[in-house]
């Protein structure tokens, strides 16, 4: 069994430190938003979690493509790791969004394109896990999971695009904002710094968890291999 790489330990520490700083910045460094008040502070981790959820989704699709080409089990483990992390963060994204939406939009939930897309993403993630659970043969499981991740990753932007043609009330803070969106605001430099730092932190969290999860998958494989060997 290989021991834990030093780089991973470093990333572990860096991630924890970054998260502490980011939390501090969100609550104390970033100024209070004039209209929405403190609830706006949810925004920093909300977007960052969504970003990680999307990274997971893209990661699963890319791992799927590589798996289908190379047929190497390693990429199946990578795909599964990406999906598991993605699920958690999309979930955080949806929950934090709801917390923000309650006072600002006066509702926990609305079928806005972004909310719809996040939900569909979550459902596809769950379907992916159910598909895996239903198949015993590990090679077939890996192939089907890869195919589903690819089809799913194509469908999600199409859903977003379709839903987008309906009018949206979701604020678009990054890029050109729609003035009609409820809860839109302009970021001050300090807000922008906090926001960027949050993104960086969550990217580190993603990399760290991803690496740990892949290592875990490979260890599970090694144990399975030893088990098969002793059975002979």
């Amino acid at each position: 069994m290989d021991s834990k790489p030093r780089l991973l330990t470093i990333i572990d520490i860096v991630t924890v430190v970054l998260l502490l700083i980011a939390t501090y910045m969100v609550f104390f460094y970033a100024p209070q938003e004039a209209v929405m008040g403190d609830v706006q502070r949810v925004f920093y981790f909300h977007v960052a979690a969504g970003w990680v959820g999307m990274l997971g989704f893209i990661g699963a699709a890319v791992a799927g493509i590589i798996y289908l080409i190379k047929k190497d089990r390693k990429w199946d483990i990578v795909g599964l790791a990406a999906v598991e992390i993605g699920i958690v963060f999309i979930f955080i994204n949806i929950v934090t969004g709801s917390i923000w939406a309650r006072p600002i939009w006066n509702t926990w939930w609305t079928w806005d394109p972004r909310l719809t897309t996040a939900t569909v993403m979550l459902l596809i993630y769950f379907a992916y896990l159910m598909l895996r659970q239903g198949i015993e043969d590990p090679d077939r499981r890996a192939r089907f999971a890869a195919v589903y991740a690819i089809v799913g990753s194509l469908s999600v932007p199409l859903t977003y695009f379709s839903a987008r043609i309906f009018r949206t009330i979701h604020p678009i803070v990054i890029g050109s904002g729609d003035p009609n969106a409820t809860g839109s605001f302009d970021m001050t430099p300090m807000m922008l710094q906090t926001f960027m730092f949050g993104l960086l932190t969550f990217t580190f969290i993603f990399i760290d968890l991803f690496w740990h999860r892949i290592r875990l998958g490979r260890k599970a494989d090694q144990i399975e291999q030893l088990r098969l060997k002793t059975m002979e």
Binding site: R73, D137, P138, D221, E224, Q225, L228
Partner: protein, 233 residues
């Protein structure tokens, strides 16, 4: 006709075939004997181009698997323990369907000929659903020879058949195996295999542990040979 070198097949982490070597000359009828889980079906599925080898070389009728699968499939007839037939179609329709899939010429007369061969002409207009297991299995052989293959693979063809049906199936199998075709058949029924095959290979834990020609062994000694071959592994 069939050449297999150092064939390895893994399912996930489990290795089923471990560097298997195998060959069959034209006209040979090889019975692959072995206990359940030895890798017989896996091996046959690889020969049938339904499963890809993890490692090793497979050559059938001069074509490589898996990259020349289409050329191999043209020369291959497969009878498995499942009939691979559609219950809601008649025998004639089933054969016509598979004939089109293979692009068989003069399909009409060929279908009639094959039905005659497997002794199902009187019932050709009946739905396969209403057939007995033995009749289904004979029709399955008809489906497999429709395109006049050079190599035939039988995967436990006697599964679920009673004595009479098995005997009838054997007649058809013998008929089909003649004419210089190469046949590989898996079986765990020594007696049946002894009747049909011209060579016996024992497969155990994913390799072939022994091989003997029919004229080199007394039929009575076959069981002892089989037991001994299993001990080797």
């Amino acid at each position: 006709m069939i050449k297999v070198r150092k064939l390895v097949k893994r399912f996930g982490l489990k290795t089923v075939l471990r560097g298997m070597d195998f060959h069959a000359d034209q006209g040979e009828f090889v019975a692959l004997l072995g206990p359940n889980g030895a890798g017989k079906t896996t091996f046959l599925r690889i020969l049938a181009s339904l499963s890809r080898p993890s490692m090793g070389r497979v050559n059938i009728a001069g074509y490589r698997l898996p990259d020349q699968a289409s050329a191999v499939r043209r020369r291959l007839g497969v009878v498995s323990h499942q009939p691979l037939l559609y219950g809601d179609l008649t025998a004639e329709e089933n054969l016509r369907f598979y004939g089109r899939m293979y692009g068989v010429r003069d399909l009409q007369s060929r279908v009639a000929e094959v039905l005659e061969l497997v002794g199902l002409t009187p019932r050709r207009r009946d739905l396969v659903r209403t057939y007995s297991r033995g009749m289904q299995q004979r029709l399955a052989i008809g489906r497999a020879v429709l395109h006049d293959p050079d190599v035939m693979l039988f995967d436990e063809p006697h599964t679920g058949l009673d004595q009479d049906a098995s005997a009838m199936l054997d007649t058809v199998l013998r008929e089909v195996a003649a004419r210089g075709r190469t046949v590989v058949m898996t079986s765990h029924d020594l007696a049946r295999a002894a009747d049909l095959a011209s060579r016996f290979d024992v497969i155990s834990r994913g390799v072939i542990t022994a091989s003997v020609k029919r004229d080199e062994i007394e039929p009575n000694n076959l069981l002892a040979f089989y037991r001994q071959a299993l001990q080797v592994a």
